[in-house]
């Protein structure tokens, strides 16, 4: 998986609790992305980062925040998890714009 790890790989949580997912890369790639994957919707971009401390919203950013304090780590936070945020979350990295995005193994999140 091109030097990308995601943690945790599986998580079950309750509605209203905060959740943080971590993406860690060893490739020193500039761009990092968070997607969610749901049946019938493909992959939808939540937030992305184009450098340390530089982030922007994707198409489904409501209810999510991100932080990137160093090149190798990109954190996704659900401030107050809801059942609609039950999904598989993928992190991706890319060295340059419109280059291959390399995806991590995913985190399966269940919000009860």
């Amino acid at each position: 998986d091109a030097g990308i790890t995601q943690s945790p790989r599986h998580k079950v949580t309750e509605t209203g609790t905060p959740v943080t997912l971590r993406c860690h890369q060893t490739e020193n790639h500039r761009y990092m992305y968070w997607y969610r994957q749901d049946p019938g919707h493909g992959l939808r971009l939540i937030h992305y980062s184009y450098g340390v401390k530089d982030t922007d919203k994707g198409e489904v950013s409501d209810g999510y925040s991100v932080s990137r304090s160093k090149t190798e780590d990109f954190l996704l936070t659900l401030e107050s998890a809801t059942s609609s945020q039950t999904s598989v979350y993928f992190c991706a990295i890319s060295p340059r714009e419109q280059e291959t995005q390399y995806f991590g193994p995913g985190t399966r999140l269940l919000v009860l």
Binding site: D1, Y31, Y33, G40, H41, G42, L43, R44, L45, Y48, Y50, D54, D56, G58, E59, F90, A92, E97, Q98, T100, Q101, Y102, F103, G104, P105, G106
Partner: protein, 114 residues
Amino acid sequence: QQQVKQSPQSLIVQKGGIPIINCAYENTAFDYFPWYQQFPGKGPALLIAIRPDVSEKKEGRFTISFNKSAKQFSLHIMDSQPGDSATYFCAASIKGTSGSRLTFGEGTQLTVNP
């Protein structure tokens, strides 16, 4: 708002057949069109990509055909094998001031029977 529409949702072919997956886009500013392949339990992986200045690109058994005027592009898999059974996603992106972002189609689940 779904800017990239993909069809069919699922496709079953026999070994050796040529499955074709189609995508249509709305935004004429898109200028990069990759296809990703995903196996169960794994993250997607880039299969092949095309830019709108060419009408066709081949890599091994995989071919992208691109029709700029119709705003459509498709993936053809020649001599398909059971190992090609996976979910395929088309995508499109535009370069922006803060980096480019991919918009994915809904995915096509391909089954190649032996």
